[in-house]
Amino acid sequence: MADGVLSPGVNLEAFSQAIAAIQALRSSVTRVFDCLKDGMRNKETLEGREKGFVAAFQESLHSVSRDLGELERLSNLVGKPSENHPLHNSGLLSLDPVQDKTPLYSQLLQAYKWSNKLQYHAGLASGLLNQQSLKRSANQMGVSAKRRPKAQPTTLVLPPQYVDDVINRIDRMFPEMTIQLSRPNGTSAMLLVTLGKVLKVIVVMRSLFIDRTIVKGYNENVYTEDGKLDIWSKSNYQVFQKVTDHATTALLHYQLPQMPDVVVRSFMTWLRSYIKLFQAPCQRCGKFLQDGLPPTWRDFRTLEAFHDTCRQ
């Protein structure tokens, strides 16, 4: 790929001839395969047919080798573009004579091109993503410090005691749901929610925002070998893997940037509807099982049970 003006090491005419030679080579190779595909022509005798086929095949192979030879000759004429790009100080790196052992300069060029491309793609992606507002917190990212209004409350930084209080109050809300709070990894709260004898949910929080959830069965182990809460491994059962996906959808659905405690309450109310996971039939088809799974979806407003494939 030639970018801008080539330095005078490249024979432009040979270059264009080489491109034409590549096209010729491609067409002759295609002809070889066409000849093979078509097989033998219809002639009177079997011997005549075989001779005709072999002759055509040899002819196409010869043209391939001819074109390949022409391409090699031209590529030798084209020459190599020198790497003496005027990059000021970094160009001094190319003065190192031991090119094989320390290819610093060419690696530098590659890294630079790569990071340019990355920046370009990231710009495109952020343009696309900004069209959908997925902000759950009230902070504005990307706004420079000067323009950010000074009196904005940051709900991302809340005292841990406040978070504990909110969680304790929610714990007392429902009798069949118990919530245990711990902070094994810094200031993020980790909740272990036990819902009746049906399931256990591990909720990882970031101040009062719910970051991640994992849903597991009542009889599954939620601790690692060290006795710490296991926040990574998935459930062994397909039904709870499905409920985990739904819970992740729910934590993205319930959004209220200025009042995160209402969000947590709504999420827990939604979660509580799973107490009847195995007893409730689907509200749409009336059956209990669909592909071996009970109704795992709970509507966000009405909390009715649906199969994943039955939900509207």
Binding site: K197, Q238, F278, Q279, F288, D291
Partner: protein, 219 residues
């Protein structure tokens, strides 16, 4: 004595039932019909299973009352355990060495070797269900078919009964049974392997009482 942890999953709600042999077909053919229906549903074969049951008589003289029957059972799902139960009484879950202990207790418990009955067959997994279709044999003769269905994620027996029924109907059709007695007494307690073994024991007793030719008998 407790159960050593030897299975990958804890027991969920389970049900053991007997399927009658179809008209004009042998036990083998009925088993094949069932397994074919399961495979059509999408179940995967996962090895074999075996549940066996030996009967012991308590020596009447030592107890001063009529002898009671004790059953010692094994289940390949729990290979390190041994289950000992009385008909209406408690179920003991013991280590596998319990068998050798029974040999030492020959004076108190006599083994009725002719009554040994077992069920062997294939294990299938469908989504979160575990299905075991087995041929019940007593000695050399095949006496019936047992089907065990377990829904692993649910630990409360009563909760998932409707779910289990629906699943059983999908491959057993009309032979799906009614609520087993075990569920009636345990309202919200956690299902345990002992409940499965009690159901197997009742099933084996029923088959023993049947005539040699298997007759329709659904529980």
């Amino acid at each position: 004595t407790g159960i050593p942890c030897d299975s990958l999953h804890s027991t969920g709600g389970g049900n053991v039932t007997q399927v009658p042999v179809a008209e004009g077909k042998s036990v083998q053919q009925t088993v094949e019909m069932l397994t074919r229906k399961l495979e059509l549903l999408g179940a995967e074969k996962q090895g074999t299973f075996c549940v066996d049951c030996e009967t012991y008589h308590t020596a009447a003289s030592t107890m001063g009352q009529t002898g009671k029957l004790m059953y010692v059972m094994h289940n390949s799902e729990y290979p390190l355990s041994c289950f000992a139960l009385f008909e209406n009484g408690p179920c003991l879950i013991a280590d596998a060495y319990f068998d050798t202990l029974m040999v030492k207790l020959k004076g108190f418990f006599q083994n009725a070797k002719a009554n040994k009955i077992e069920s062997r067959g294939t294990r299938y997994q469908y989504c979160d269900f575990l299905v075991k279709v087995g041929t019940v044999t007593m000695g050399p003769s095949a006496r019936g078919i047992s089907v065990e269905v377990e829904y692993c994620p649910c630990v409360i027996a009563n909760d998932c009964w409707n779910l289990l029924m629906e699943f059983m109907q999908s491959f057993m059709g009309n032979h799906a049974p009614g609520v087993p007695s075990v569920f009636g007494t345990k309202h919200d307690s956690i299902y345990s392997p002992a409940d499965t073994m009690v159901q197997y024991m009742e099933l084996f007793n029923k088959i023993r009482k049947q005539q040699q030719v298997p007759v329709a008998g659904i529980r």
